[in-house]
Symmetry: C2
Subunit: 512 residues, 2 copies
């Protein structure tokens, strides 16, 4: 009898706890709805909004962001989190949802509103100053804003608190649970190998026609791109492909929207595949987890691993074009009929050091990131001062690439990130590249006849593998833990290095 | 000295009061932002949303509607309204904003949440039942839901309170400050004249080719429509024209979006002009009033007066097509080259009694509304019961049109409105028609060479007249007061009757 009573008590206890969790998750879902509303309205702004509706749109987005913030840091939310953090009866998935919301809640409650507003203001003024500085090619115009922003971001890191480094707090916004301690050994291993690889490729005598520097009709590319991404498994019943000034992916779960370039006659298929890679991640969560952290990407680096995998590891592979190149030639006979598959394959894999990160190829891209990562780390370790940025930048360019920017516009002033206070964002690009190869390597092992399938135009196996191994978990695991779970080890740059060597040795006829 | 002190006190008082008003209006603007977000998301649902994103979209809209409601009925809002309602130092515009927000606040606070939810539930179930009933042509399926809804709406009217009639409360949601006492004399005067007019037209021997019953390419019509509405003054820098299953207008102020039919080969130019009429109203508010009731339409009837004016009084006029018909013939030579302007003018003005309201012409349309208005009034006066609806409907059809519906699907079950509890909505259609002619009549007096201008394709004068006389006021005046201000008298159906007679006498060669 005593036992029965205890059992009864446990049930009551459980059901009480469960009902707090249910209330909490209902509240969280509303928070996600508001976020989703803002995101869709942001999408509209870049796609269909009439040209002169900017001001009113700004008010709407600002009000929604206020509503979101109020709901997030509310007393109610605090109570839910307090109560549920003590609860040991939650399932792992429930715990993960509580943990992730607590993380955002803590950050948003710890930082004083005054500091938040100061950062927003500095970002707005700084971006404007950065544009002027870049135009006039004069770092001095931007310098005071960079100084201010670095100072404010240090304050922010102090307010939130950290174990090891202030910079860790900033990284955490984009790559949660990943710190300098995780990144440093990986990046320094990478740097050591990358610099000589790039040097050797540069010394190679192989010359390649830049076939892509021709005119390719935007609409025809879009149509061809749709065929490819449909084949990748992008679901047009739960998504779209539109056009905008710059390609992006927006939305999640049952409504994911990609864009490609509205104008210009460049070659856009890699951008379309890249966005579709992001899109497949967002479409890949489990419907039962929609509107919770379990239907959100693990990190920006992981997100980028998906886009880069489709863009580079599939999209710039021989196997892929074995199937698609004849079709592409049919769409663009004037531009491509005279070039063989081999010509084309070489053209889409040209390695050439450039000053500009966004124009970089697979081999040199990460050097641009390592440069920025090192500088950001030193800025927040007080090892360099903002005013030294141009000098340090140029020194590193010589060290990494053997070239020196002619001016700051193609040097330290090329990226918008710092003016907006986005420190800690850059490393996610390289993390994405590294994760992409490590995961891809595992997928190749798990999927029989992988490359043959791709060269027969069968792309779905990879998509399904990614669904099962990556997407469906959402934020259940940290990036570190998930990588270990999938590949048996944490992030290891050797896979990427091996991939680069094996790919570019034959193309450039050198031993790397 | 004493005077000075008083002056000082007054200043303090004023500046205190003003600052409460400023706070209030800032709060109201956020409320409008949330409404604007919902509206844009609703627009997306009808235009670009992927086909299977409905469920998630529903959550987003429901959450936003909850946020809106919470903000509207908040304690803060109550305090603002209490304080400002006592304040006599406000300007007329400020008073109007307080008055209009108070009106919505009162309605939303007086109605118990339980009743709101019950109405929402009954609307959802009732709409589903109505669809089944219409399909199976069996009113009995819908009857219990109609009974329930009428009962709930009576409860709602009691909760809100009224001076004269419960039905007045329902009308007020769509046509504020207008009651049965205002409408009854107007509608009964109209009915007396309309029934014999329609009868005489029917007896006329004039036969007209239904030219519009041909295939007109959707895209070509859209392009032609854009030319027309640009000429009307619709501003594409603050608006768009897209496609959807049924045409509608969404948004306001600096972002107004119209749609036309996505598919189908009917003649859509009148629908495009109709929506642009709504759109011009929404684009016509003063920027200084954006995000307040002074940038909102006075009533649904007034809104409809704008759409009908452009659709019918301009769009179905001889003058308009004198300019546009040759251009239309060039776009659709196969369909139109063999028909003269006169043929076309007759075809777009065919009068023919029909069972279905939405297919009705200018002469018969209002009879459909008078029928519904009378029934709604009697339902809420307990003069008829919901179960009698089909019988009453059919009797009235015979009385008004001399025809009897074969079944309820083309009779009492044809409109969705009642299943959703939209009692009081129908009269706004006829109010719109009547207002449109009364205002148009005044515009013709005020604009020199009005008809000549229209027949030269100059449509801007009318748009500007409407901006100045109607749009720019927003909700500053009631519909009654604005009509008096513009035309020197309140709503008078004689203008409409005169218009009908003068238009259809020559077309049908009868004396009306």
């Amino acid at each position: 009898m005593a036992k029965d009573i205890n059992l009864y008590k446990t049930c009551i206890k459980n059901s009480d706890k469960m009902s707090v969790y249910d209330e909490f998750i209902g509240y969280v879902k509303e928070l996600y709805d508001i976020g989703k509303a803002s995101e869709l309205i942001g999408w509209d702004q870049e796609t269909y909004m009439p040209p002169k509706s900017v001001e009113g749109r700004g008010y709407v987005l600002s009000t929604l962001s206020g509503v979101y913030h109020e709901k997030l840091v509310s007393k109610k939310m605090g109570e839910y989190i307090d109560e549920l953090s003590k609860n040991n009866d939650l399932t792992d998935k429930q715990k993960a949802n509580v943990r992730e919301i607590k993380k955002v809640y803590d950050k948003n409650t710890k930082v004083p509103l005054k500091l938040v507003k100061e950062i927003a203001k500095t970002s707005s003024l700084g971006t404007e100053a950065w544009q002027r500085a870049r135009k006039k090619n004069d770092f001095k115009i931007f310098q005071p804003y960079l100084e201010k922003m670095v100072g404010l971001k240090k304050e922010l890191a102090e307010a939130i608190g950290y174990e090891d480094k202030a910079y860790d707090v900033l990284i955490d916004d984009f790559e949660p649970y990943t710190t300098v301690k995780d990144i440093d050994p990986v990046f320094s291993g990478l740097k050591k190998v990358l610099v000589p690889i790039v040097k050797k490729v540069m010394e190679s005598e192989t010359k390649t026609d830049n076939i892509l520097a021709q005119d390719f009709d935007v609409d025809k590319q879009k149509k061809f791109g749709i065929e490819i991404i449909k084949n990748m498994g992008f679901d047009f019943e739960h998504g779209r492909l539109d056009s905008s000034a710059h390609p992006f992916t927006s939305g999640s779960c049952d409504d994911v929207r990609l864009t490609t370039f509205k104008e210009g006659h460049g070659f856009h298929l890699f951008a379309i595949m890249h966005e579709a890679g992001h899109g497949l991640y967002e479409q890949g969560y489990k419907p039962e987890n929609y509107r919770t952290p379990l239907a959100e990407a693990i990190s920006l680096g992981y997100h980028e691993s998906q886009s880069r995998m489709w863009e580079n590891l599939v999209g710039r592979s021989w196997f892929f074009w074995k199937y698609y190149y004849p079709k592409l030639q049919n769409v663009f006979p004037e531009q491509l009929k005279k070039y063989s598959l081999e010509d084309f394959y070489h053209a889409i894999n040209i390695v050439k050091p450039s000053f500009i990160r966004v124009d970089a190829d697979e081999a040199t891209y990460n050097l641009h990131i390592l440069l920025r990562y090192g500088m950001e780390k030193d800025l927040f370790d007080d090892k360099i001062e903002p005013k030294e940025a141009p000098t340090v930048w140029n020194q590193k360019m010589e060290e990494y690439f053997g070239i020196k920017p002619e001016n700051d516009a193609v040097g330290v002033l090329q990226d918008v990130h710092w003016s907006q206070g986005l420190f800690g964002y850059f490393p996610t690009y390289t993390l994405g590249n590294l994760y992409s190869v490590q995961l891809f390597n595992q997928a190749k092992k798990d999927i029989p006849d992988f490359e043959e399938k791709i060269s027969n135009g069968q792309l779905r196996n990879l998509k399904e593998w990614l669904n099962k191994n990556v997407h469906e978990y959402g934020k259940l695991y940290s990036a570190n833990d998930l990588t270990k779970k999938i590949t048996g080890e944490t992030l290891n740059p050797d896979y990427f290095i091996k991939y680069l060597k094996e790919k570019f040795q034959p193309i450039y006829d050198v031993t790397l």
